[in-house]
Amino acid sequence: MLPQRSRLSVLVFLVPPLALYGIAVLLPIFQSLFLSFFEWDGISPMLFVGVENYVHMFTGDAVFWTAFRNTLGYVAICLVLQLGGALIVASLLTLLRRGRELVKTLYILPAVISTVAIAFLFQRIYSLDPEGLINQVLEFVGLGGLQHAWLSDVNTVLAAVSIPEGWRFTGLYMLIIYAALLAVPAELEEAAKLDGASWWQTFWRIRFPYIRPVWITTTIIATTNALRGFDIPYLLTNGGPGQSSELLTTYMYKTAFTSTNYGYASAISVFVVVECLVAVGLIFVLLRRKADA
């Protein structure tokens, strides 16, 4: 039990950030929830429509479901690149004797470049006319027949908009996982090796269980970030061609700011919040259960 003065100081330090959190995060969420029961274009009087926006969203809006499926695909690609890539690079980094700092810096670099610059960069990389990097390389290695307008093909566009986002943050997660891997006691690994464990066994039985708490946190951060992904797809294709790269976030943005249908956009935003909470819950349950097993 903290003495009276300490409790007061804890309150003094905790209340301002909590209040800020309430105003900046919770209040907008509740405002969205409130708005989602109305039809409102921003200038006319608000019209109460009950759960009509939700009914339309779930039963009458094909674009919403397309955007939802695209979001899942986008999240999957981002996670494979970010977590898988980060784990591989971090593991390789622990084997490196020299130049670790340089490699780390190079990998983290994309995370500090502005999103708009990254979008422009990838627009050029994917371009067919004028020929971008990928198509030039294909031509150079004699695979000119595979040249493609990557951002215009409905079959490739979702992967094409997910890759920049995945690539961008791989370095950041690599750094977190690398720090966790460094904390794995060397004696344990050495003992395992002496007992004849393979590299894979050492990794799977010793290293991974040791970094599991960090892995859970990283997975949660990466998943929620990907679920809220917006800027790169919006800048690269604006959801197109058609709705092939439309995400829930870009659809919500267009509904609010192009169609000025703030009520329906709020309903979508409430769905995004719930979706993030469900995803976090699932990750917790799945990874914890594995740990307990």
Partner: protein
């Protein structure tokens, strides 16, 4: 002690919410009479702002900056604060958010969209026709320039600052190489594209990324076969794309797609890449307005293609109800005057600026929205420049309205998306028609109530 603290916390929370609410409410201004264009009172110089969506180094901003400086000399304390967002979707978002928060500045740009019509209906915008008449400049404007700004009911709430003609620019040498002639009718387009493709030439350079350039093609066929009224009926649900007019238009677009009229990967090609494709002699046709005269009809153009560039206007169709000299002749995004901040100074400045503007603007080599100023042809212009400028005097009465300024925003967004799919061959004409008719039926009538 604990109860007191709890009460204090509740009181503080209530006060904080109270402050928030008053903060939200502070935005509501007092409503003024939108037809009272000559308010009484003294002219007190102060800063006024214009939220606009025009190129920062373009003719309109350059001219208005010069005019504002001239006005400020006689009215110390006056300043015109120009806040531009040239990217149109970003601009629209900014302007609509400010409108929702009741924070629009004295002057702001808008097209004659359903949203703008709501603003006019709730008294946010001054009656531009009354204002221009009161200032004695109404008759100076080209009727086509004013008509472009009008709402469907004929009311005028925006002032035009430009006048543009949209042409099909083409490369004579590439046409010759492919053995094709300038299309006489819109139906000649697919064959023209096929011949150009066969000759290894990109038929038409298109900025697919910005979507409005492709949407122009949607407007062309119905404008010829049914006239400008078609889109006005369609957007309200009084006509459908499954009508013969709509069907023909969609089929024509689908034919353009099958003939490979646009460059591969057009949907991700941006404005400057599309233009570069034409000006570098790679693409044979480029559909753009006279705002690009400086790039297409001056010595800024690559000498290798400079003498090969010419233009043709929107071809007719066999049963065309509009004349060959009627096509897209927009007067650009218009400027609205906020009635809630309208005062004698705003009126006095607009009186000064709108009288002075045509001369200053035309001196930059652009077409004035009025007939009172002659465009100065730049020293480095090719003969095509003068020809394009003279063409403005021959424009007919009816204007092909760009559909992105006509449809409700939800239908418009969906149309832009579906058009790309139609042209890429991802959806069949029938599917396109049923999707769009459904979307317009859901959103159009509601938006234009």
């Amino acid at each position: 002690m604990r109860t007191n603290r709890a009460r204090l916390a509740v009181a503080a929370t209530v006060a904080a919410f109270g402050l928030l609410l008053t903060g939200c409410a502070a935005g509501s201004g007092t409503s003024a009479d939108p037809t009272n264009v000559d308010p009484e009172g003294e002219i007190t110089p102060h800063e006024i702002s214009w939220l606009l969506s025009r190129p920062a180094d373009g003719g309109v901003i350059t001219a208005m900056e010069q005019i504002a400086d001239e006005y400020a000399k006689d009215h110390p304390g006056f300043a015109l604060n120009l806040i531009t967002t040239p990217d149109r979707p970003s601009y629209i978002q900014k302007y609509e958010t400010l409108a929702a928060a009741n924070k629009l500045p004295e002057l702001f740009d808008t097209d004659a969209t359903p949203f703008a019509q709501k603003l006019a209906a709730n008294g946010t915008m001054m009656d531009a026709e009354a204002l221009l008449k009161d200032l004695g400049v109404y008759d100076d404007y080209r009727p086509a320039a004013l008509n472009y700004q009008r709402f469907d009911d004929g009311s005028l709430y925006m002032v035009p600052f430009e006048f543009q003609l949209e042409f099909f620019w083409y490369n004579k040498a590439l046409f010759e190489q492919a053995g094709v002639q300038v299309p006489k009718t819109l139906d000649d387009f697919p064959a023209m594209c096929t011949a150009l493709r066969d000759a290894g030439i990109t038929p038409i350079a298109l900025d697919g990324q910005d979507q409005w350039p492709l949407e122009r093609y949607m407007a062309y066929y119905p404008f010829r076969t049914a006239g400008p009224d078609y889109v006005q009926q369609l957007k309200k649900g009084d006509a459908t794309l499954s009508d013969s007019t709509g069907e023909q238009a969609v089929q024509w677009l689908s034919d353009l797609g099958s003939a490979g009229c646009f460059q591969d990967g057009f949907s991700s090609t941006g404005y400057s890449d599309a233009q570069a494709s034409f000006t570098s002699g790679k693409a044979a046709v480029y559909n753009i307005g006279t705002w690009e005269l400086n790039s297409l009809a001056t010595d800024a153009l690559d000498p290798a293609v400079r003498d090969d560039i010419d233009y043709f206007t929107l071809p007719v169709t066999a049963d065309s109800v509009t004349a060959a000299n009627e096509y897209v002749s927009p007067s650009g995004i218009g400027m609205a005057v906020n009635s809630k901040t309208y005062d004698p100074l705003v009126r006095d400045f607009l009186g000064f600026a709108l009288k002075r503007y045509p001369e200053v603007y035309a001196a930059t080599g652009a077409l004035s929205p009025t007939t009172t100023a002659e465009t100065t042809i730049p020293a480095n212009a090719t003969p095509l420049y003068q020809r394009a400028v003279d063409q403005a005097n021959d424009v007919g009465e009816k204007t092909a309205m760009p559909w992105d300024t006509q449809l409700d925003p939800t239908s418009n967004t969906r149309l832009q998306q579906e058009l790309t799919l139609l042209l890429q061959g991802e959806v069949a004409p029938d599917e396109f028609i049923s999707t769009m008719d459904g979307v317009i039926a859901d959103n159009g009538p509601k938006a234009f109530q």
